[in-house]
Symmetry: C2
Subunit: 114 residues, 2 copies
């Protein structure tokens, strides 16, 4: 529940690396271990945290356990920062100029899309 688990899970750089790796597709623990340069027990522990935060799901394949990303909690993150997104959108607008112009929202659809 608590996005507390979500935040603290993603607070760790190794865990973010795992999540980023799983973005490319499901992986068994061994591959995650190697790709992230972690020890096997460490990987298992991190995966446990991610699992309990709901960020990953496991599928068992023989002795292997294939971990896959569950994007739902990240959607929660997205929801969390939604209010802030509005804020920085407007602050991009009024970068150096503070015009108390008319309340006519200038629809400035110039997305600096990179």
């Amino acid at each position: 529940m608590s996005d507390a688990a979500l935040w603290s899970a993603l607070a760790d750089p190794h865990r973010r690396a795992i999540v980023a790796l799983l973005l490319a597709g499901p992986r068994p623990v061994g591959e995650i271990t190697e790709a992230c340069g972690l020890s096997q027990p460490s990987t298992s522990k991190h995966l446990k945290v991610l699992r309990e935060a709901g960020l990953v799901r496991v599928r068992q394949d023989a002795q292997r356990r294939v971990y896959a990303l569950d994007p739902a909690p990240i959607a929660a993150l997205d929801a969390w920062l939604a209010p802030y997104r509005r804020l920085w959108n407007s602050s991009l607008d009024t970068l150096g100029r503070r015009l108390d112009a008319t309340s006519d929202d200038t629809p400035h659809p110039a997305p600096p899309e990179d």
Copy 2:
């Protein structure tokens, strides 16, 4: 710099509370202290972390220090989760949780794309 500072700053619930409070507008330390039910030194320390993560800026007003949200780092967060957002958008599509059987050499071809 490193979003490491950003993540670890936001990992703390009190700090998230402060950030959420500042979303409504700039506040001096005293108000933040009271609104979040923190002690004054604790508030100052949290604000220091937020400051070093670039999440807040200070403006000095007599003896008071008015803290305001800086939305830029949150934009970085948004950029971070952009790839995942695509993922959960598409997973909304495939509601019926189909776990792909990528065991041996499943070529993993065309998704049923209806």
